[in-house]
């Protein structure tokens, strides 16, 4: 079962097709289809609830996939991710409140459409745009990932070390506005990753006498703690909020009218999908950036730019195509190099590791069938989003008014079950709670929990690369030569310097423009 698909890629073109067919056959087993659809529907609900995010939804779902086969678990998670990327458009259109930051640009035209009595137009444009973005993004994921993973075969310890450093410099952008806090969050994550027995020398580090920590920080526990608990506390603060949805009646001709109008704009759809995929591939950037850039380009290239902002389906589609292409795009660096470029990708990494799949070239050889099944789940999940979104948005939108006092304890019970179930150890639940409190406090201080988690994930890659490079340097007589003179390392060092310098320069330029000085913020950081 878990052989073949990718293994055959290099050798024979025909075998590649055979691998795809095997993955498709796995995906279309009835239980996989059922769990994918369940994941998509759960994702739409999670996305449309202001306060919940795709990252949090996936972290909560992981415990339910423990005993599933890797294919089924990953297909369900992929479905949830894709569904949530669409679901956030529903409150953006009906409430003028994006379900997640990715749908900010969707409000620009979505809510004016609702105010003009055309809410259904907005929802159909969002569902169609989400499907187009998801399908194009998944096709690019299918074509780009395996070659990139093969390129990673040329990587040795120094290259992995620098790739980890590159990933670390990029997560600095995850802090809401502060590069310094982003880097500090990443460094705190690196220190957390050092807990347990060191990988090469075998030292016992930072266990403080707790045997459960000898194996290091359990990634799923950290994911649940950092991504769910702070968000729950945030929900407690927002529990008095009430939402009033725009009411609308469905008309049968609207679906054909909106899709007809959008199909006649293939450049808009393709450009938005490519922007979304590229932004998704770049670690640190997310759906909010993709949708804003795509919306901006749609306005810039349109013959009637004045119609944007007043309620046009083009604006909704530009935003939704892009932010839905981000989801498969973010899988490219994750599946090929093991670098999660976003908090959501970090959760997927946790799920992959839980099911015994380590990202990198091996994912496309040894576990080719599972991997391609997962990739196809993005493709067909996007198509499912179209149908569910087209005819189910109206009913799913009612979840928006589920009372927060009811949601908070239920989410907390699931976090406790999830962190306990990994090793049947109550210490893990305590650790999850501790990470949650740390995540909440650091969030209040302006850190993004995602930066800490990504540091935690990149830590072992960086440490192993560093220690092995030092050993290689000692053997060859030149640590400098091993770490700084290999061609791929030089490229990665240059990229790290650029990615580190860019936000610093941008921040400096912004300060100069704004005139500097102190600022007051109300902390409400949300994960993607």
């Amino acid at each position: 079962m878990a052989s073949g698909a990718g293994e055959s890629d290099d050798r024979h073109g025909g075998m590649k097709v055979e691998g795809y067919v095997e993955a498709l056959a796995t995906l279309f087993m009835w239980h996989n289809v059922a769990f994918m659809l369940l994941g998509v529907m759960a994702g739409v609900v999670v996305g449309c609830l202001p306060g919940l995010t795709a990252t949090m939804g996936m972290a909560l779902l992981i415990p339910f996939t423990f005993t599933m086969t890797p294919e089924t678990g990953l297909v369900m998670l992929g479905g949830l991710y894709v569904g949530a990327m669409y679901g956030d458009a529903i409150p953006a259109i009906l409430l003028n409140t994006p379900g997640t930051p990715s749908a900010i640009a969707t409000t620009f035209d979505g809510y004016p459409l609702s105010r003009n009595g055309q809410a259904q137009h907005g929802l159909v444009a969002a569902a169609f745009g989400s499907a187009v973005g998801g399908v194009i993004g998944a096709l690019l994921l299918l074509t780009l990932t395996a070659p990139l993973a093969r390129a990673a075969l040329a990587f040795g310890p120094p290259e992995y070390f620098w790739m980890g450093i590159f990933g670390l410099t990029i997560i600095a952008t995850l802090a809401s506005g502060s590069t310094l806090k982003g880097m500090t969050g990443g460094a705190l994550g690196l220190l957390l990753s050092a807990i347990g027995i060191s990988p090469i020398a075998g030292d016992m580090r930072f266990t403080f006498g707790v045997p459960a920590f000898q194996g290091g920080v359990e990634l799923i526990v950290a994911l649940i703690g950092f991504f769910c608990v702070p968000q729950v506390f945030q929900m407690v603060e927002e529990r008095r909020m009430r939402y009033k949805l725009v009411e609308y009646k469905e008309s049968p001709g609207v679906v054909r009218e909106v899709i007809g109008a959008l199909v006649r704009k293939p450049i808009l759809l393709l450009r938005s999908a490519v922007i979304g995929t590229i932004v998704g591939i770049i670690p640190g950037a997310g759906g909010n950036i993709a949708s804003l850039v795509s919306y901006n380009e749609a306005v810039r290239w349109d013959k009637e730019p004045e119609k944007f902002g007043k309620g046009t389906v083009d604006g909704v589609a530009a935003s939704e195509v892009a932010n839905n292409a981000v989801a498969p795009g973010a899988m490219v660096p994750l599946l090929s190099l093991g670098i999660p470029g976003s908090p959501a990708a970090a959760v997927i990494l946790g799920a992959l590791l839980l099911h015994g799949l380590r990202p990198g070239p091996g994912l496309f050889t040894t576990f080719g069938a599972v991997t391609y099944t997962f990739i196809f789940a993005f493709l067909f999940g996007a198509i499912a989003v179209f149908f569910i979104g087209m005819w189910g948005s109206r009913y799913l939108a009612r979840w928006i008014n589920v009372p927060i006092p009811l949601l908070v304890p239920l989410i907390m019970v699931i976090t406790v079950v999830g962190s306990f179930a990994i090793r049947n150890n109550i210490v893990d639940v305590g650790a999850m709670l501790l990470f949650g409190v740390v995540g909440y406090v650091t969030m209040k201080l302006g850190f993004h929990p995602g930066a800490i988690v990504l540091g935690l994930i990149l830590g072992p890659i960086i440490e192993q690369g560093l220690v092995q490079s030092l050993l290689m340097g000692a053997a060859t007589g030149s640590v400098w030569g091993v770490l700084f003179t290999r061609p791929i390392s030089i490229v990665l060092i240059a990229l790290s310097v650029v990615s580190l310098a860019w936000p610093l320069w941008a921040s400096y330029a912004k300060r100069r423009r704004d005139g500097g000085g102190a600022s007051v913020r109300c902390s409400s950081a949300k994960t993607h």
Binding site: F64, L180, R239, L445
Partner: protein, 156 residues
């Protein structure tokens, strides 16, 4: 200015916390071997520099952040945290179902605040108990993941 009065200098606070973490990391890493400690020492060094940079920024160009949008939320956040700690402590003692039912129902009723009525409290209790039993059944019998139990009627 009024806004700043109710806000924290987040850079100073962050800098102090990061320096304390770096100090603990350095203290603990003294006994590590060369290969086992090289990464930790690099990270601790980086953390110390970043902590100092945050302190400097807190003096030169501070960022003030309000911890809570509304100070009235502080008791609610405290209640959630305290009940979570109590819940986690209770799970091994009274089993998952009883602890979760009490936690979910009690917290939901508490958070209802001004909108608490008998009907809403009753629904919150039912949902809390139902979800706790549902999760127990799904994990214990569906996924074969054993959750803490106290042998109540041989079921929970």
């Amino acid at each position: 200015m009024q806004q700043r009065k109710n806000a924290l200098n987040s850079d100073i606070w962050s800098g102090v916390i990061v320096l304390v973490v770096a100090g603990v990391g350095w203290w603990e890493s003294r006994g590590f071997s060369e290969l086992g400690g090289v990464f930790v020492r690099w990270v601790v060094g980086a953390l110390a520099m970043l902590g100092l940079a945050l302190l400097v920024k807190g003096v030169v160009s501070p960022e003030y952040r309000r911890a809570l949008a509304d100070r009235r939320d502080l008791p609610a956040v405290g209640i959630v945290l305290a009940s979570l700690v109590a819940y986690v402590a209770l799970v091994p003692v009274v089993g998952f179902v009883l602890a979760s039912s009490a936690f979910a129902s009690g917290l939901a009723i508490t958070l209802l605040g001004d909108r608490r009525t008998f009907r809403r409290s009753f629904i919150a209790s039912l949902v809390g108990i139902g979800v706790s039993i549902g999760l127990y059944v799904v994990f214990q019998h569906g996924f074969s993941v054993p959750l803490p139990r106290i042998g109540l009627w041989g079921i929970f």
